[in-house]
Subunit: 410 residues, 2 copies
Amino acid sequence: MYKELDTSVCTLMSPGPVEVEPRVLRAMCTPILGQFDPEFTEIMNETMAMLRAVFQTKNQWAFPIDGTSRAGIEAVLGSIIEAGDRVLVPIYGRFGQLLTEIAERYGADVVNIETEWGQVFDPQVVIQEMQRVKPKIVAIVHGETSTGCMQPLKEIGEACRAMDILFVVDAVATLGGTAVKVDEWKIDAAIGGTQKCLSVPSGMAPITFNSRVEALLLARKRIERGLVEPGKYKDNQNRMIRSNYFDLSQLMDYWSAARLNHHTEATSMLYALREGLRIVLEEGLEQRFRRHALHEEALTQGLQAMGLKLYGNSECKLPVVTSVSIPEGIEGEAIRSMLLKDFQIEIASSFGPLKGKIWRIGTMGYSCRKKNILHVLGALEAALIRYGAKIHIGRAVQAALDVYHSPESN
Amino acid sequence: MYKELDTSVCTLMSPGPVEVEPRVLRAMCTPILGQFDPEFTEIMNETMAMLRAVFQTKNQWAFPIDGTSRAGIEAVLGSIIEAGDRVLVPIYGRFGQLLTEIAERYGADVVNIETEWGQVFDPQVVIQEMQRVKPKIVAIVHGETSTGCMQPLKEIGEACRAMDILFVVDAVATLGGTAVKVDEWKIDAAIGGTQKCLSVPSGMAPITFNSRVEALLLARKRIERGLVEPGKYKDNQNRMIRSNYFDLSQLMDYWSAARLNHHTEATSMLYALREGLRIVLEEGLEQRFRRHALHEEALTQGLQAMGLKLYGNSECKLPVVTSVSIPEGIEGEAIRSMLLKDFQIEIASSFGPLKGKIWRIGTMGYSCRKKNILHVLGALEAALIRYGAKIHIGRAVQAALDVYHSPESN
């Protein structure tokens, strides 16, 4: 027979999944309620209210999709894209490719512009392309974990609004770790992640969208058979949303007073998300973003003191992911493997053109704390010494401590 | 600010979600591992092996979809249906309508046959329709929780195999509570539920499929952009699976040695599923089905002793759901509300033509135990007395105790 679950407790410093907040783990132990119990629907409403605060939006619609982050992306893109719609996706890493992939599967006519990995777009370049392509939708990644870069969004959002283009943002990596200002940046729909800066396990994808998106959804709405009175069944065959599970027009009825039956809400994951959001709001968004920036500073100072080079343009660095060039002559996977096996620390490799070239270290949510930063720096140094890398020995942890002990940090 | 989660502890006797096994709740508290940590991929493999045992199959492919039950249904139907495919869906309740709905959204030419609610199909009627319609797929519900009926599948499965039709079964309500013999009944793909007889929270959908389905998936396979070397990108535009998230051909690469990046597995939910399956196998399938049958017997004897009438054809009764006709002159929702508010017991109403006509009481998984059966019978009797229903007072709990105290029960 299979033995009782008895796993190692690891230090998770990849760009997700990261360590789960202990309070979130405990919240998942709560015995469940029925899905239409008023006590439970109140928990649904509270979660929506907290999501609005974290997304910095007044949107009515802010709720999780019951699936992992890409489920949230697919729910948003799949519910607004109709076959033949033109979608502009600027790509600066692997997750821009994913947006392209999903949009194509829903029949979009996707136009890509690409920039070198390690860089982001000058907003004017995107805006010029918008003027040329005249898309219905612009979809872009806010924080590219594959490269460790972050795209400025405000100018693009304002241009989208002026041109009546829907602006969809993948904020999976950034939500809860650095500012995602949905209303101020004129984002029409955004998708967050749970297993990154919210420090909730993977399995839910918080989304938000505004009344511009809502209007489009209502025009495509088709309540499913079996839930409408015979005769009131609206076919809407031509424009109906292609997925039932990801049909945001039906999910609006589930996440509002109508409480129309759709799926059975993932109770324990909702408890987890609620607790994760509660922790974020108790800490306070600004304080939380400052904490993330502090530990990023300690990490990057430590890595550079060791003699390692950060990858990518520092002006567009994603504050919650640090990409490090693997030193000449060192096999990246050997170091990663030693970190996991000997030190029980996980850091990440990367994808596509960056495979074997960089490591990626996350500073996200509960994983983003002094204990972990000092541990990862010390262990990485030891592993590099073990493999004969030419580094400055003994400096990394000291440089990080300098950051922590400086007067501004306290 | 929002207060700490502090919910009532309810007796959940609807046909799902039901009470979660305490061991499953505790398993979810386990700190998480990274998704490609060998310790974690071993947990993935163990979960697959246990799912095979519960589905009674030798299929290689048995894994959860990260979403609720209907996500599993959509993953299976959406991955095998191509636009214009003919799909036969026999309907005997609300969830047959859901299969129809999902198949239609993926472009199927759906043919329905319907039978009166409270009945199931004579397999010969379905087989005759298969001969007339010549579908590519037959999709049917095994246990209809909306009515409390269960469809015999073996003859239909054998006929499908003989006619080279793919046989897809929604076993969401039955898996883990009564036999679902995937191989013996010639089921090509089946979908189970977590929040019902497995007593795991909602949020995952175990599925299994055989090599006949695999062959079709491989013909439609398209690995997503960003994961293949440039030049090796296979367009497969015409036949590609419409959803990225539900693309079983990519999920096969995720749930096998290839471990190709797709989503980030929902770690804590996988821990929950693993523990739920472990409990099922420790109890033993046959013993577990006998336990479910025993408590069903106690419940139905109790209800009938009270003078209530069971709804539906008793010959096709679903052993894990009991439908009860609401007595003349009684408002069903008033009783349900009293049960929830005063007794903290949840039972269910129903859908469509049965709305207001029946209550549905689940005997599923961890909720299916003597304490709960006696509690629900006593409380229902008290609520009915309170509302002036003409019932036989004092007999229901006694009749259930007779079942529990009979020599055969021990």
